[in-house]
Structure formats: C-alpha cells, structure tokens
C-alpha cells in the first residue's frame, strides 16, 4: 500500500495506476451537488473561489455533525457520477483530482487524462472510518448548505483505491 502526502506532484500522479491502494494524508475540500452549483456560479461571474483549485483535491462528501471531542462526524464518499457535468471544467482549471465513489463519465476520464489528474475511490459506506481519519475540519464556504457546505479537512491515512489514473485507466473497466 502506497502512502501519499498532499500536495502531489504531477510525477507522483502519473506514477499511480488504476487499482493501486493508497493511504492519503493532507488537506482536501468537500463539495457535492449544491456546492458545485455555487462554485460554477462564482466562476461564471468571474469571482474568486473559496478555495484554490491548484493542489486541492475535492472530496465528494457531506459529513455528519462532529460528536463531542472529534473533528468530524461520519464522512464517507457520495456517488461521484452526479458530479460528471462539473468535474471536467474544474480539472481544466487546475484541479489535480477528486475522491468519491463509483464510475464517472467518459468526459471526466478524458479530462483526467488531458490534465494528468487522478480520481480516487473511497470505500462507500465506510463513513465512520473516514470520519475518524479527519483530524481537522473547517467550513470555508456556503455554511447555509449545512452538510453540503465546503469543508477544508486535514485527513490522515485515508484508505483509497486509484479508480481512474492519469492515463485514463479505470478500475471499472472489464
């Protein structure tokens, strides 16, 4: 199992292959359906985003509230395919990759390849495992969206599988 610390260099991303298991440590940002709509509205208006796209991995997730004494509640991935229409534009703007669950579209695969980016699959349903691996979480945008807001998270040893690599190889291909 490979250990990876964010931010990742282009060379590190290119060295990963679909099917590789990794433990990821570093800073990531949650965003799901509603947050993506708002990020796109900001981009369309030419406004500044609440977080930098370069070096920032987006985690398709909406956590449970944090229990007493914890940084974060249960926090597994949501279905990535719902973000198919959003991912290519963000990748073209410098996003190095995403974390989610399940297959994504051919457009996303092409954008990952074009930008030498990588899509990681977290284990859907393992919410307690991921929530427990979040060491710090801070809402950095759209707090009115509650669990759907953008949270900046420091995570330690997130167990992930490379789902689509920078060459377009996919664990979902048969």
């Amino acid at each position: 199992m490979k250990r990876i610390t964010l931010p990742m260099t282009k060379e590190q991303r290119e060295s990963l292959r679909a099917g590789d298991s990794v433990l990821l440590t570093g800073t990531i940002y949650t965003a799901r359906d509603c947050a993506h709509k708002r990020i796109f509205a900001l981009l369309d208006e030419g406004k500044e985003l609440p977080f930098p796209l370069q070096d920032a991995f987006i985690y398709y997730a909406g956590p449970c509230p944090a229990p007493e004494g914890k940084a974060c509640g249960s926090c597994g991935p949501t279905t990535s395919a719902r973000m198919n229409s959003f991912a290519p534009r963000l990748l073209d703007l410098g996003l190095p990759g995403m974390i989610g669950k399940g297959e994504m579209s051919e457009d996303v695969r092409a954008a990952l390849k074009r930008n030498k980016a990588v899509y990681f699959a977290a284990i859907g349903g393992a919410g307690a495992t991921y929530g427990n691996a979040v060491k710090r979480a801070e809402c950095v945008a759209f707090p009115d969206l509650l669990s759907e807001a953008v949270y900046q998270m420091d995570v330690e040893d997130f167990p992930l599988v490379v789902a689509i690599d920078s060459e377009g190889g996919s664990i979902y291909d048969r």
């Binding site: 449970c64 509640g73 399940g102 284990i123 349903g125 307690a128 669990s147």
Partner: protein
Amino acid sequence: MRIIDTKEIEECVYNMARRAGLTLTDSCRAALSSAKERETGAAEFALSALLENEKTAKREQMPVCQDTGMAVVLLSLGRDVQLVGAPLKDAVNEGVRRAYEDGKFRKSICDPLTRVNTGDNTPAHLHVEIEEGDKAEITYLPKGFGSENMSRLFMLTPAEGREGIVNAIVETVRLAGSRPCPPVYVGVGIGGCFDSCAFLAKKALTRDVGSRNPRKDVASIEEEALARINALDIGPQGFGGKTTAIGVSCELAPTHIAGLPVAVNIQCHCVRCEKEVL
C-alpha cells in the same frame, strides 16, 4: 381496547433510529462476512474495510455511513389499539428529529425545488397498516439515497411474465453499476398498482438478507435474479468480483389483468433496519 400513548411510539422510534444509524443488521453483517471469504484483491479489501468500519462506528459511536438516510417508518397497528396523546405523525417526526440531533446524524431532507434543508431530517415517510389485534409493530429503515437513486419501476405487460420480471431486476442492477455502493440488497415489488408496487419493494428490504419468500415460485425468482446479478462482475464497490448483490427479496400483491408492475428498490450494502413491538 388497549390504550397506547403516542409518546411511547415517539420513544420507540427515537431508540430504533439511534441504534439503526450505528449498526448493520445481523443478516447483512453475516452476508458481508461470507462474501469476503469468496473475494480477493480490491473486492476483498473493500469488504474488509466495511466490516472494520462497523467496529469503528460502534467504538467511536459514529454512524456507520454518513448518509443516515430518509427515515422510513412502517407501523402495523392492531385495530384494538386506541392512540392517545399527540397526533401519530407528530410523534413519529419528533422521535426522528431528536434521534438525528442527539445522535449527530446528518440531516439529509430538503425541499425538492429550493433544495433548502428542513434542518431536522423530518418529515419521516410514515406508512400505517391496520391489522387484527392490540399490538403496534414498528419497523424503522433509514434509507440512503445513493442506492435509492438507482431504483426503477417497470410497467411490464402480462405477456412478459416471469422472464420479464427477472430481466427487469438484473437490468436495474446492471445499469446502476458501481454507483449505489455494491454489493447491493435488492427489494422487488411484483404486482399491485404503480404506487403500491413501489411500496412492496421497500417492504421487501425490511426482510432479513438471505431470507426467501415462502412461495416457491417467488423464491425461485429471487434465486435466479441473484445468480444472474452475481455473474455481472460489478463486484464490491464496482471493483469486480463475485458479489454484486448480497440478496434479492421479492414481495407480491394481486394486480390488474392488463398489467404487471415491477418495482426494483436498491439498498446499498449498509442495511440498517430495526423492528419493535409495543
């Protein structure tokens, strides 16, 4: 006549919701464990992670999955019961509201158009059936939507028959692919009308994983659909493998001579379901 204060129902819903958020059903856990023995590579890694995750959830008192679901409450109420106290619907919603607040569960319910969150995970989807007797049987199912989104309803023709039913089930799981968190548990409604068929499918998901419909011809549909689904090679998390579903449960109701409704309700591998009798 037996009198039940709806406060008791509220407490019961509260306790079931708290437990369900943190626990897989015994039959689900057993099915995942035995699936793990059959798998290798990424599929085995995923199943091991899920079994370990439930232990972490218990130890840390955190929900097994962050999608703590839409609260589905099935109440089978004896006709000799007289309910007193707050209106039934309010009592059920209050139980859900308190459980999601105290349990630090995610509030996932919103207006379908404005997408504004209701803030407390209510309203619950409450379904009441009046039966004989003086008991109140409550089933609590928190339903996640990654899997709910992959569900389908078919209005087949009578001519399509048994083969059409099995094809509809397998096709729904095939199209869902890796998206609903496989291995899935498949609830199927056969017959009834447009809406009651979908409800039968939901009700099928409250059965134990691996249980069989007592009707032999229905059980054979469950078995054939499961075998064909597990030959799809979608596998745990879509990583490939022998286990794409851990079970198929079918429920039946008489239908119209002109139709054959089939509803396929997909449940992820995180089967959470509680039952209590008052």
